[in-house]
Assembly symmetry: C2
Homo-oligomer: 253 residues x 2
């Protein structure tokens, strides 16, 4: 089926497959070295940029909808998506008529109704994944989070809320596994936190807090090859890390 | 209008007012001295207990739906409700047929469709509010969170998730304003945290952490009247407290 035909069928008969009024949108953050990016799709017909989003099948769990949507729209799989917020202002889909009419949607389509969207986010090592656009999209691209284009509807706001959730989640859960090499230095871990938080952190405070959380193991080896005094290498104590992921950091008590 | 008639009308014509497939449920935690309770409603006809929940009007923001629902169903107003999670398993409304048929709902009613529910929570000083049941409910009552009855659908699970969110939120935001007297002692603040977390906390660690957060002001007066050495009194620095409520604690950096 060519993509225009497939999209037309989706507009006409999607309500046989999906529940109306509810959608999912995925904010995929990509970390690599000291950069934080976000994955966006460009619509074929209108040329507008958006978050990878989709709909919920009639008897599908919402978390499964998010995983399926991300896979169908960007090719990314095996990614842990965290639900973070629901966006439900009645006017969130501004200029929806304009947007959907470009795509051939009629006024009485199920797509023209009000949608409440459930936001999910994930943080991945962006050099390790290979995103590609789906049949609706011209392009699937990583964008610097500080230089985003104007996105459709409230997607800039959703992306901003996802970033704030990710930043606050550093108080609740450990971060770094799958983003850093197996053995890493304290400055490498600090760069990860600084990149997510967008601020410089005092080196001594950072080290003290990190060690107090209890899931870091200092190795006997040091990193070699640098010009300065070789820094210690660390790795995550996987059991303690997973326990903290499950239970949360619980204020350290 | 008598309550049976009002309810029948809601079953028959509710879909003219509300969007289908999405509901809101409110978990209201009540703190008083060293007790943590939750506010539940008892259905008139079936006698089952549930969280105060409701639906979203066609052009109403979801946060406003939660506030309106709480007010209509329990009389509580001016309460800050925090959205914490969406519950969207396809089988979350177990025995919905049984439950709704007791209330006279027909198979083809909009209420029989699958609903995804948005969970909100709040923490209030329960001696300062005066809840009362709506026309659908026989009773509106505070229950000890450790001695809950069996609730309808997945409401026990929603309440558990709300408690976990509240516990993790202690890492992210300050707590205590409106729950403690204007001037309070460190042990009183500690009791609040211990009651929410359900664990005992080391006294010295607690004091050190709390003071490091920067929104507590130690007063010159001490609490009098106790048998032991009079403890210092504290109050919240309202500006710093509000800033932390807005920005989050951001890992203390």
């Amino acid at each position: 089926m060519d993509s225009t035909k497939e999209f037309r069928e989706f507009i006409l008969t999607g309500d046989q497959t999906f529940i109306p009024h509810v959608s999912v949108d995925c904010v995929i953050f990509g970390f690599h070295e000291d950069q934080l990016k976000v994955l966006l799709l460009k619509w074929k017909t209108s040329g507008q940029w958006c978050l990878p989003g989709g709909f919920i099948k009639k008897s599908e769990a919402i978390d499964d909808s998010a995983i399926r949507t991300l896979k169908e729209r960007t090719g990314l799989s095996s990614i842990f998506l965290k639900q973070f917020h629901v966006f439900g202002d009645p006017d969130r889909e501004k200029k929806k008529d304009d947007f959907l009419s470009v795509h051939g949607t009629k006024k009485d389509s199920w797509l023209m109704q009000r949608f409440i969207t459930i936001g999910y986010y994930a943080l991945v090592e962006f050099s390790k994944v290979n995103p590609h656009p789906d049949f609706l999209s011209e392009e699937c691209k990583w964008w610097d989070i500080h230089k985003l284009p104007k996105l459709i509807y409230d997607h800039n706001q959703i992306m901003k809320a996802a970033l704030e959730s990710l930043q606050l989640s550093l108080n609740e859960y450990p971060v770094g596994y799958n983003l850093l090499p197996e053995k890493f230095t304290m400055p490498e871990l600090q760069t990860l936190y600084e990149t997510i938080l967008g601020v410089a952190i005092d080196r001594r405070n950072f080290q003290k807090k990190m060690l107090s959380l209890g899931f870091l193991e200092r190795l006997k080896e040091r990193k070699t090859g640098g010009a300065h005094k070789a820094p210690f290498l660390y790795r995550f104590d996987k059991k303690k890390y997973e326990k903290a992921m499950k239970q949360g950091l619980k204020f350290g008590f």
